[in-house]
């Protein structure tokens, strides 16, 4: 069969090339360029090769120390909020009504925190937690708890975590609820006939059927919490000290605070790479899990 050669298609593809080049490739290349150089202002740049990357991975330098410490804080933060939000989301989804007008009411209430912009959430909790005028801060201090997120590391962490749980548990709950709703009634009836307890129903039917949505929930929440910036920045500004300085906050400090464009560019490239790798791992795991579930033909 002869293929018709027609070069006109290039005209259709060209606009996309241009848009992608200007929106993604060129800015990224600029960052790569910066990451290889050092600047002392006045738009003067000096070649530094892979020097910044070496420093980044070396905890004994200032840059490496700050990066690795904030990376550790970030991973710990993601781990903690996943450990809270996933089980809590499942519990909420399980206790939601399955029919009637209460379903719509629950969905609306759950969706509310998701609709609030990040910096508004930050502002809400910043005020809510203040010991002098904030409702939570005032009440906690009033009943004898010495709570002050501005001066106490642990209080700051608790505030940031509770804020994230408040903001995002709904997402996990809604995803799980969708997963639960897709389970046919016959499964519950069969389990009833098989004499299954509530726990056995959860373990044998509900959890396996929620498998896929849970993976999506974990992926979304991990990515989001790993890239978190606005909320802790508004509430604690990364403090007290550096105790709630996550990678993105550190990045902004270096780039805009110190105007160390080279260091910041190197950091953001590594940061980007980590997220890409984690994304790829999740994606592979998820697609493999899907393939495994396809029934094998001729098995019986």
């Amino acid at each position: 069969m002869d293929k018709t050669v027609n070069q006109k298609a290039w005209f259709l593809v060209l606009p996309v090339f241009l848009v992608v080049a200007f929106s993604a490739v060129l800015p990224l290349m600029t960052v790569v360029n910066y990451s290889m150089q050092d600047t002392f202002g006045n738009n003067q740049f000096f070649w530094n090769g892979v020097g910044w990357f070496k420093e980044l991975l070396d905890p004994s330098t200032d840059l490496g120390g700050r990066f690795l410490a904030s990376l550790g804080r970030n991973l710990f933060f993601s781990l903690v909020i996943l450990a809270i939000e996933v089980p809590l989301g499942i519990v909420i989804a399980l206790s939601m009504p399955r029919q009637g007008w209460t379903v719509a009411a629950c969905l609306v209430i759950l969706a509310l925190p998701l609709l609030i912009p990040w910096n508004v959430v930050g502002t809400i909790w910043q005020i809510f937690g203040r010991p002098d005028i904030g409702l939570m801060g005032y009440v906690l201090n009033h009943i004898g708890l010495d709570y002050n997120y501005v001066s106490n590391d642990i209080d700051a962490w608790v505030t940031v975590i509770v804020m994230d749980v408040w903001h995002w548990t709904s997402l996990v709950a809604l995803l799980c609820y969708a997963g639960l709703k897709s389970i046919p009634e016959a499964y519950y009836q069969a389990a009833q006939i098989d004499g299954a307890s509530r726990w056995a129903v959860f373990k044998a039917i509900q959890l396996p059927k929620m498998n896929r949505v849970l993976l999506i929930a974990v992926l979304l929440r991990f990515m989001d919490s790993f890239m978190i910036y606005t909320e802790p920045f508004v509430v604690t500004g990364g403090g007290p000290g550096n105790s709630t300085t996550f990678v993105s906050i550190e990045l902004v400090k270096i780039a805009l605070g110190q105007f160390d464009l080279g260091k910041a560019a190197a950091l953001s490239l590594v940061y980007n790479l980590i997220i890409l790798i984690v994304c790829w791992i999740f994606y592979t795991v998820m697609t493999n899990a899907g393939a495994e579930r396809k029934p094998q033909e001729g098995a019986a």
Binding site: A186, A190, I193, G195, A196, E297
Partner: protein
């Protein structure tokens, strides 16, 4: 192992105060023999699944009682009744192996491990699932999954009845026969009461020794396949069972004669006490009507087409307003599209308001 009695049982999704016409299941009193193979046959929405779910306890009936061996179990939950149910779509526990699936009902009831292993091995052998016991159940085909669903019911030694809710819907046609004969064999071997819901008459007639036909929430007839064929108690049974279904023709019946379209048809029995004002029809199966050349004393019908089913030919004819199917003997042809109809008087039934009327000898 149990006899199941339904006593004035009815169910309405709208509560008992709803008009009885709207009941999903109209009042029924009947007995299911211990060890019987029953089929609940009827079109979609006739209430057969409701009846099944009432027996299994998934639905609590709004009226009446269910007795297992004379014991009232109406208020008992599904878990406490000793029934097994196989659903339309296979229900298997994804994360478990076939063996763990079979063991699940016993584990939930706290049966000792040794006993569980013994029962699982036994049921695995019975259902030809032995090679798969250690494999993940999700990877099996639909018919194997249905066998697992059935196995979870059979694995309990105390099971009183096995209920099937159109279990072959998702099975490939050639496997349907295999699985159905497997059920039949199991029934003979295990002496269990089996109730099989279906809308497919072939499935019902081949599986069951008693077929219960339901129509519009009501049990209209319960009998052996032969009884349903020879003596349908309701015109619905007549045309629902058999292919093509029974011919139902409006007629005027007096004594031993039926008048159709000005023609007189002799009846074998006398019908003198027909209810006044009732809609009177006669029913005769196509197998007992023969198309012949038109002649004196015969009903004359117009032939619309002749269906050749290979083994047998059926002529589709029109008799006034009524449609009528009849056997066309080998070599029968009609030059002008007209034919005479010869009805076998011993197989003509008379129906008043759709219900069979027994004539006097």
């Amino acid at each position: 192992m149990a006899r199941i009695d339904l006593v004035d049982l009815a169910h309405s999704y709208g509560g008992n105060d709803a008009p009885q016409d709207s009941f999903a299941l109209k009042p029924v009193t009947m007995t299911w023999r211990q060890g019987g193979a029953y089929a609940l046959l009827g079109p979609s929405g006739c209430g057969k699944t409701t009846l099944l779910n009432v027996i299994s306890g998934i639905i609590t009936p709004s009226r009446g009682k269910i007795l297992f061996d004379g014991q009232d179990i109406t208020p008992l939950s599904t878990q406490k009744r000793n029934i097994a149910q196989v659903f339309q779509f296979p229900v298997i526990y994804d994360t478990m192996t076939v063996g763990q699936n079979l063991a699940f009902p016993l584990k939930n009831r706290g049966v000792p491990k040794a006993e569980i292993d013994k029962r699982v091995a036994e049921i695995g052998r019975l259902l030809d699932l032995e090679p798969y016991l250690n494999r993940k159940a999700t990877r099996l085909t639909a018919d194997a999954k249905q066998k697992i669903s059935l196995g979870r019911g059979l694995v309990r030694s105390d099971v009183a009845a096995v209920l099937f809710d159109e279990p072959l819907t998702v099975i490939d046609p050639e496997l349907k026969w295999q699985l159905r004969s497997k059920l039949k064999a199991l029934h003979r071997e295990l002496d269990l009461t089996m109730i099989y819901v279906t809308h497919d008459q072939t499935e019902a007639l081949t599986f069951a020794d008693t077929v219960v036909v339901m129509h519009d929430g009501r049990v209209v007839q319960s009998g052996t396949p032969a009884e349903l064929f020879d003596k349908p108690a309701h015109t619905f049974v007549g045309y629902f069972i058999g292919s093509p279904g029974m011919n139902i023709i409006p007629a005027e019946v007096r004594g031993r004669e039926a008048h159709i379209d000005g023609h007189v048809i002799a009846l074998n029995r006398a019908y003198d006490k027909l209810p006044a004002g009732a809609k009177i029809e006669i029913g005769v199966r196509p197998e007992f009507v023969e198309v012949v050349a038109p002649g004196p004393g015969l009903l004359t019908a117009k032939i619309e087409r002749i269906d050749d089913l290979g083994r047998i030919r059926f002529a589709r004819t029109r008799l006034g307003e009524a449609k009528l199917a009849a056997r066309a003997p080998a070599g029968f042809t009609s030059s002008d599209g007209n034919a005479g109809l010869k009805l076998d008087p011993s197989h003509i039934h008379v129906y008043a308001d759709s219900l069979l009327v027994e004539g006097a000898a």
